[in-house]
């Protein structure tokens, strides 16, 4: 098994990790760095439970090789709260009742954070477009969309 040593930034910390070549970014976050907030759903780039920010843009971490992440900046759901305080999106979606089983929530929060970063005042349609790749089987999306809308106002 071929290994590669990579150095990257994860949630503001510099990490140096030895990764097998076939390890995905998702597996590295969960298994090597114990950041289990990022979830493994479909492993096929469809469900979005594994969404993280890579160099500021949301990506499916199951669709990225860890070996490709040399020098990258990654933000996972663990990196959204600062000093024990939830981010605006986290707070607003929780308040709106947008969390039920919670499995989609980490990826959803990342997609929503990225959306508000590139478009601070999204319409309902734009919010729905931004979370197309984050499947939720509990909420029916309505409360999540409301939460993201509230976060935009905060």
């Amino acid at each position: 098994m071929a290994y590669q040593r990579i150095t990257l930034t994860v949630n503001d910390l510099t990490e140096t990790v030895d990764v097998p070549h076939n390890m995905t970014l998702l597996q590295m976050l969960r298994q090597k760095l114990s950041l289990t907030g990022t979830k493994n759903g479909c492993s096929a780039g469809e469900c979005g439970a594994c969404t993280v920010l890579m160099n500021g843009e949301p990506v499916n971490s199951c669709m990225v090789l860890a070996a490709e992440c040399e020098g990258a900046t990654i933000v996972t759901v663990e990196g959204l709260a600062k000093n024990g305080k939830l981010s605006k999106v986290q707070e607003a979606v929780a308040k709106a009742g947008g969390v039920q089983c919670g499995f989609c929530t980490p990826g959803m929060m990342i997609s929503a954070t990225a959306l508000l970063e590139r478009n601070p005042n999204p319409t309902d349609e734009e919010i729905r477009q931004a979370i197309v790749g984050n499947l939720c089987r509990c909420t029916g999306y309505f409360r999540i969309v409301n939460g993201i809308k509230e976060a935009a106002k905060m």
Partner: protein
């Protein structure tokens, strides 16, 4: 614990520094090495065991693969490592190739489009590739580096069958160049999926049209169809009709019928062949009508 979704099979990740190195490596390991950019398609197939390789060759560091530039004479060049979101939000693309932005935006989800690339979509040679039809209708040309150096391959002679192209061992597609679109071009991409957004296409129809004083109808139309034949292709007979006959509601309906007759779809999990045929007719009619409405304004 049993993981129902195992990771990727054992493989080696290779990141060549130069095109020569990449072509050499791929030629030497023909059949066991595969070039990749976003990996959104090949990772899934590796995981499912449909695709087996010993080496994944990352082309993202190679010369020209990060290019995204528009030249008013040469047209648009999109590097093989440029993700679809970058293409779809590029101001030159929006200004000159809005139909390409439309097609790119129809692919999967936002986060997937941050990895997926147009060149990757083309090289996969899936009959369902959403951006392929528009690139064909825009007369795209692929810039390729092989063991014998650089060469160009027009997109309309690139596909051999599902997943099969004219690429040779050692070839790396660096970028695609889309010539400057004809003056007054209007284009749309119509996609039918099982849901409104985010799914693979059951039928994909790319149509563009522009005024052309040389054709009897005064216009030229290009119609490319996806998911309804072994490879994406142009409905040439329907295009010919629209350049020959005065464009009316009837001509458009006739062209859509001809387009329907030109397809050879299959039954699969997304839809039956019969349904696909009918949808080709309907979507082609809709797409031509939309383009025509804007052209004749």
């Amino acid at each position: 614990m049993i993981n129902p979704h195992p990771g990727l099979p054992e493989l080696e990740y290779v990141k060549p520094a130069t095109l020569v190195e990449a072509s050499q490596f791929l030629a030497e390991h023909n059949g066991t090495a595969k070039p990749f950019s976003g990996g959104t398609d090949c990772f899934v197939r590796l995981r499912d065991g449909v695709l087996k390789v010993d080496y994944l060759v990352d082309i993202k560091g190679l010369d020209g693969t990060k290019e995204l530039s528009f030249d008013p004479k040469k047209g648009l060049t999109i590097g093989a490592a440029v993700p679809m979101n970058k293409v779809a939000t590029n101001k030159d693309v929006i200004a000159h190739y809005p139909n390409l932005a439309m097609a790119a935006n129809s692919v999967a989800s936002y986060q997937l489009r941050n990895r997926a690339t147009i060149v990757g979509n083309i090289c996969n040679a899936s009959p369902a590739g959403d951006t392929i039809g528009t690139c064909m209708a825009l007369d795209g040309v692929l810039n390729v580096h092989g063991t014998d150096g650089f060469r160009q391959i027009p997109l309309n002679s690139f596909f051999l069958g599902p997943g099969r192209t004219v690429l040779k061992p050692g070839d790396v597609v660096i970028s695609i160049t889309l010539p400057v679109p004809p003056a007054g071009m209007v284009g749309v991409y119509k996609k039918l999926g099982r849901n409104t957004i985010g799914d693979l296409s059951i039928v994909g129809v790319a149509v563009l049209g522009y005024p052309n004083s040389k054709s009897p109808s005064g216009y030229t139309f290009r119609i490319a169809l996806a998911s309804v034949a072994p490879v994406p292709f142009e409905a040439l007979k329907a295009e010919a009709l629209l350049s020959e006959k005065k464009i009316t509601e009837e001509t458009i309906a006739q062209a859509a019928d001809i387009a329907m007759e030109s397809v050879t779809p299959i039954d699969d999990v997304r839809g039956s062949a019969r349904y696909r045929k009918l949808m080709v007719r309907n979507l082609t009619r809709e797409a031509i009508t939309e383009v025509w409405n804007q052209l004749s304004k």
